[in-house]
């Protein structure tokens, strides 16, 4: 189906609720929907199996207009259909669609905390990424927000000791994190266990929240490039690439073909470094430290290549608005090829290890299995989704930049367990190596940058890029000035969390670290979530009671 047909199908499905249709870009359609009809429209799209919910963007339309707007972005291949819902500032009620589409839980939380949407049925006393001592009724992304409003409030949850310890009988709550919860990034998990079996999972993120989206509103388009590059240290290039692509689209500037090729090349190298890093972490969690050491040793090869090509090991700053900074000449090409030769043999070796090593297979085979139907329901993205047989890869579904000229092939598995996720990631690297060689052998000639204006014309755009962890979505809005009006980032890890929490239930506690590592979470990317699943609200012990119990227990 081509873009036009897909759009028409969506229009037909949504016709009963559609109040106004806008076509901002050739692959996008915006439809204005009434608040009380949002659920019906979502249901219709869901029932017709049209695409998946990719993100929800909240906008403040300004104090004068007196309205807030929520954009529900549904994606199907290259097509994006956004349902636009406007609510008055005095009554920001929005119906929840999380029961129809589970991934919406995270997005709705975000809307509620940053812009003050009142989502039906959402417990507002829980915080997701805003600190616990943040005052209530202060919303950082509102246009009338002033820094003075954000003074910390004392006497809130932060002083309370978290609920933990024994609940009833054999049921315990095991807190993991925020320090080092299986990974060296901050996140807090509470697993309710009955003996060794996990019966409930809960998490709190936001320990590394930096307010980047707010900060972007006060910086120029050029300065923001480096800000967004620092959303994530591992996939920094894809963030910068998505941002550049979006801004270039708004400015109607086309980066030269050579720049696109170099962008894909760096993205390929970045994918190798990201997946090898993940392999090491996963091996470490499985207790296979030899594999961890060796995969990280080999990762040095690609880190050195990145440093030679771009000038830095992380935060490469390879992009500028309108093109790239770094040239890839014959000298670099020779070095990259030499590095790839070594990496390819090693990746093949690791592929053999993860599929044959008995010890490792005990920790991966048949564990955390996600069926294709579940993956679809949870809205999974990236290698985690592809391991379950979902064909979700933006590089193939909606090729951008140089992926049209140097395509990559899709790697999928159908078993959906941790082993499949290992295989998908490693095999993907061989595909990336192949694509990098193709680029080096057929590099287009020409300049590296195109001229960019300082002021970006007013408009809205969506840039989607396949990051190592899955689809990355940037929503960029310009008012025609030197600074953006709103930039919304939806990172892939955010969509993948639900799989961990859902899959931990019923497994042994010892499998939890592997499950967390299995989706390759990136905390600094997605610090904005809290969710509760099947938590038993039974008789809870206070911290004091538990302490007394502990003292009594050890006295015996």
């Amino acid at each position: 189906m081509n873009i036009e047909q897909t759009l028409q199908t969506a229009e037909k499905i949504l016709a009963p609720w559609n109040k106004d249709t806008l076509r901002p870009e050739s692959n996008r359609m915006d439809m204005v929907v009434q608040t009380d009809e949002l659920r019906a429209a979502t249901n219709a799209l869901h029932d017709a199996h049209w695409g998946y919910l990719s993100a929800i963007t909240g906008l403040d339309l300004g104090v004068e207009s007196g309205q807030l707007e929520a954009l529900y972005h549904f994606c199907s291949g290259p097509v994006v259909v956004s349902l636009r819902v406007r609510v008055p500032r005095e009554n920001t009620y929005l119906p929840s669609i999380a029961d129809i589409l589970p991934p919406a839980t995270f997005f709705e939380r975000e809307l509620s905390e940053t812009l003050g949407f009142k989502i039906e049925g959402l417990d507002e006393s829980d915080r997701l990424f805003i600190p616990d001592d943040w005052p209530s009724d202060v919303y950082p992304l509102r246009s009338d927000f002033a820094v003075e409003q954000a003074a910390p409030v004392s006497g809130s949850r932060i002083d309370e000791i978290p609920e933990q310890g024994m609940l009833t009988g054999n049921t315990f709550v095991i807190p993991i994190g925020p320090q080092h919860p299986a990974l060296k990034e901050p996140g807090h998990f509470q697993f309710t266990v009955d003996g060794e079996i996990v019966t409930g999972a809960k998490m709190r993120l936001g320990y590394a929240h930096r307010g980047i989206e707010k900060a972007a509103e006060s910086r120029s388009w050029y300065q923001n490039l480096y800000l967004f590059e620092r959303v994530c240290g591992i996939c920094s290039h894809t963030h910068a690439m998505a941002y550049c692509m979006g801004v270039e689209k708004l400015a109607q500037v086309e980066a030269p073909p050579r720049a696109h090729a170099i962008r894909e090349l760096v993205a390929g190298l970045e994918r190798i470094h990201s997946h090898l890093l993940w392999l090491g972490v996963a091996a470490h969690e499985a207790g296979f430290d030899t594999l961890f050491m060796y995969s990280w040793r080999d990762r040095e090869t690609v880190m050195n290549l990145l440093e030679q090509v771009t000038g830095n090991r992380v935060n490469y700053s390879a992009n500028v608005l309108g093109g790239v900074k770094c040239e890839v000449g014959p000298e670099q090409a020779a070095k990259i090829k030499e590095g790839l030769d070594y990496l390819e043999t090693r990746i093949r070796h690791y592929l053999e290890v993860v599929t044959t090593d008995a010890m490792f297979l005990n920790r991966t085979r048949g564990i955390g299995t996600i069926t294709a139907a579940e993956a679809e329901k949870f809205g999974l993205l990236g290698p985690t989704a592809r391991a379950s047989g979902l064909m979700r890869d933006i590089r193939i579904e909606a090729p951008y930049g140089a992926y049209v000229r140097y395509p990559v092939s899709l790697v999928t598995r159908t078993n959906g367990d941790l082993e499949a996720r290992c295989e998908v990631r490693l095999e993907e690297l061989l595909v990336s190596c192949f694509a990098i060689r193709a680029i080096l052998d057929n590099m287009p000639e020409g300049p590296l940058t195109a001229r960019m204006p300082r002021k970006i014309p007013a408009g809205e755009t969506i840039a989607r890029v396949e990051a190592p962890r899955g689809e990355l979505l940037y929503f960029i809005k310009s008012n025609g000035g030197e600074t953006p009006a709103r930039i919304h980032v939806r990172t892939p890890s955010l969509c993948n969390w639900v799989s961990v929490l859902e899959k931990a239930v019923g497994r042994q506690l010892a499998d939890v670290p592997m499950l967390i590592a299995g989706m390759d979470p990136c905390f600094s990317c997605n610090d904005r979530v809290v969710t509760v699943l099947r938590t038993d609200k039974k008789e809870a012990w206070s911290w004091k009671q538990l302490r007394e119990y502990g003292i009594e227990y050890y006295r015996r």
Partner: protein, 135 residues
């Protein structure tokens, strides 16, 4: 895997005795900023786009090309946008100068420019009345 492990047993130690032994940095490595005032026109494009406000350019006399560049090493994110912006190639990132360790934060503020210009600027800064007008 076992072959790998056995082979590693007989390998030479990989650890380097830094700072006595150093790996050469790649040619494109972005270390400290350098600045050449003779080519500068004082257009301030570098200052404008710096994402971390790490550079300040003070014009003492534009016609005589007397500029002082105040560089805050500790704020710099080493992105190289200033060097890209400069049409006259008067700044760049050095791949030689990259070791940042100091006992005092003051050492991270560096002044670039002709010797007498920097001196004049610092004297001005020290005098409280003139300092206000400088900003």
């Amino acid at each position: 895997m076992f072959k790998d492990i056995l082979a590693s047993l007989f390998k030479k130690n990989n650890t380097q005795l830094y700072p006595f032994e150093k790996n050469p940095t790649p040619e494109r490595f972005r270390g400290n900023l350098y600045y050449d005032p003779s080519a500068c026109t004082g257009c301030c494009l570098c200052v404008k786009d710096c994402p971390s406000k790490a550079i300040e350019l003070v014009t003492l006399d534009r016609a005589a090309k007397r500029f002082v560049l105040k560089y805050h090493m500790d704020r710099c994110v080493y992105c190289g946008q200033c060097a890209i912006n400069c049409k006259f190639k008067c700044m760049g990132m050095s791949n030689k100068d990259w070791e940042h360790a100091a006992v005092d934060k003051k050492e991270f503020v560096v002044y670039y420019g002709k010797e007498e210009d920097v001196k004049q600027f610092l004297e001005k800064l020290a005098a409280p009345d003139d300092a206000a007008t400088d900003k």
